[in-house]
Symmetry: C2
Subunit: 339 residues, 2 copies
């Protein structure tokens, strides 16, 4: 089979690509080739795989050519993040809405020209949930909670969910939308997302760097690890349409965890000295944004697909440390533990 991963040069996209290439198959079919589309190229290890073709440049500019190309499967992960979309409205519309629309139309026109109907998984987000000022969120947002996004990012993700449902209903694609929880621990540097600190308060202290916690310790939030997020995307791809039993958007499993408990887990796994590198300096702007986010999520439909959240946040921290140990950068990324 031939796969397309948009955002394939990014953190989740590259990790998904590596995982799939190591598996060798998806939904019972051998993976013969994989196109990664992204603004930035993936790492050398991925590019060295003979099955991988990297295409750099904005997705929107790549879509016209995609009309001529048949894919068996698509993971559509390319996206501008929440902070960027709030700061630059046109960027968000272009990167998240227009690009998705152009991708869906490229796939539709390929099918109209005789190509097979591709299966598509879209990475949506828990950010589709408000809260709306007039409609308080439930303690846990569920698969069927009314989405009333309060960010452009969440709005664009929700709109794409509905486009994907309609293109699927019409038979142009076989689409489904997986709402990602906040992924932590992300490696690398902070990004423009207001949720960036959910990774920073673990990643930086482990690297021996001070981290700022901009919200109070009793803030609760639905998170997932990179590995479980990838597992979720693959399972959602492999599910039959019948397994969905209707609506095509679902919440991926969440570990609903307090920031204070995240720090406790960090201390339990990596020691007091590491944890003490986190300083609480409340940032009213970030605290205000986060106060509007869901404090947790339920995921009945993902559970029916056999998916599970992390057993505890300590598991997530241990997994991150394990990932770092297996990478060439371990001396930097785990410097704070080695000191």
């Amino acid at each position: 089979m031939k796969l397309l991963i948009t955002g394939g040069g990014g953190f989740l996209g590259s990790r998904l690509a590596s995982t799939l290439l190591a598996r060798g198959q998806l939904a019972g079919q051998k993976i013969r080739s994989m196109v990664l589309a992204d603004q930035v190229a993936a790492g050398p290890k991925l590019l060295a795989d003979a099955r991988v073709q990297m295409r750099t440049g904005p997705l929107l500019a790549q879509c016209a050519a995609l009309r001529e190309e048949a894919f068996d499967g698509v993971f559509h992960l390319a996206s501008a993040v929440s902070g960027e979309c709030e700061a630059d409205f046109e960027l968000g519309l272009r990167s998240n809405l227009d690009s998705t629309r152009a991708l869906l139309d490229a796939l539709r026109l390929n099918v109209a020209g005789g190509g097979a109907v591709p299966r598509l998984v879209f990475s949506s987000s828990v950010a589709v949930f408000g809260p709306d000022p007039g409609v308080p969120l439930p303690r846990l947002v569920a698969d069927d909670t009314l989405p009333a996004p309060q960010t452009s990012y969440g709005t664009q993700k929700l709109i794409c969910e509905h486009l994907i449902s309609d293109y699927t209903r019409k038979g142009y694609i076989d689409g489904r939308s997986a709402r990602l929880m906040t992924v932590t621990v992300r490696p690398g540097r902070p990004n423009g997302a207001a949720s960036s600190f959910f990774s920073g308060i673990i990643r930086e202290p482990l690297a021996g760097v001070e981290a700022i916690l901009p919200v109070d310790a009793d803030v609760s939030h639905p998170v997932s690890s990179p590995a479980l997020t990838i597992e979720g995307l693959i399972r959602v791809f492999e599910a039959s349409r019948a397994e969905f039993g209707g609506r095509l958007a679902l919440n991926l499993p969440a570990l609903n965890v307090r920031v204070g408990d995240m720090l406790e887990a960090l201390e339990a796994v990596a020691g007091k000295r590491v944890r003490e590198r986190v300083r609480h300096v409340r940032d009213e702007r970030i605290a205000g944004i986060v106060a509007n986010w869901p404090t947790g999520a339920s995921f009945a439909r993902a559970t029916r697909l056999g998916l599970k959240p992390a057993a505890s946040f300590a598991h997530i921290v241990r997994q991150y440390i394990e990932d770092c140990r297996n990478s060439p950068d371990a001396e930097t990324t785990l410097k704070g533990m080695l000191q």
Copy 2:
């Protein structure tokens, strides 16, 4: 104030224009000029009003020029109807999604250039509600029922609601979305909507023409009259943002009525001979579409704005007859009563 009515050449748009021109003011401001944008021109009476400017042509093609023009208020009614959108997917995307997006961007760019933030009312639809195969609809769809549209038309209306919420949140417009119920009795000829018979079974017999009822008499449906729909659009425009108390989309009032009761009302108002011109010939295609529609709607938020549904379907029939009597076509449109 200067108003724009998209779809201003159509039935509802023209009626809204006449009503507003007769009032002379909106939200306490004098109406000095009114631009009607539509593919077809409005009738001569509207065009004769010195305040009216008609602009014919596709809305999408008109939007670039609109960037240079400041409006105090916009009623965005232009839309392809449900049947058209199912038959021609690209037409639906272009007419309902791309045109709305272009209109919103024209308004946004005008504001960015120093114009005042325009108030905008969008005519959404009860078609935003599914039902989704996996999520049965409640007996009455409410303001906060989870929308899971099963038509391209409903999908596009829902997407536009979310765009309007986000443009409003960002301060580019002051938008709100009113979900219209099925408007009956529409004058004129049947249109491409699957709901067309809800008008046909009243309008044709009154004109002395046989009408086909394609569904069973026990089908229930949320309807509203043209006059009450216009009243709703104006009230939603005049409401302050505080009156919304959060979410910007609401159901307009519905009279939830069985088709059998519609025919009883027709007989009560216009006589047995008129009613007997309706023949029940079940059309499986239309019956199948209608079986997926909400059987009724609730409208708590509209009630808080002081809006009410028709007191009975007989009121709606009488109002239609009254409208016909006041028009030059009365001899044709009421031929079935005069015979």
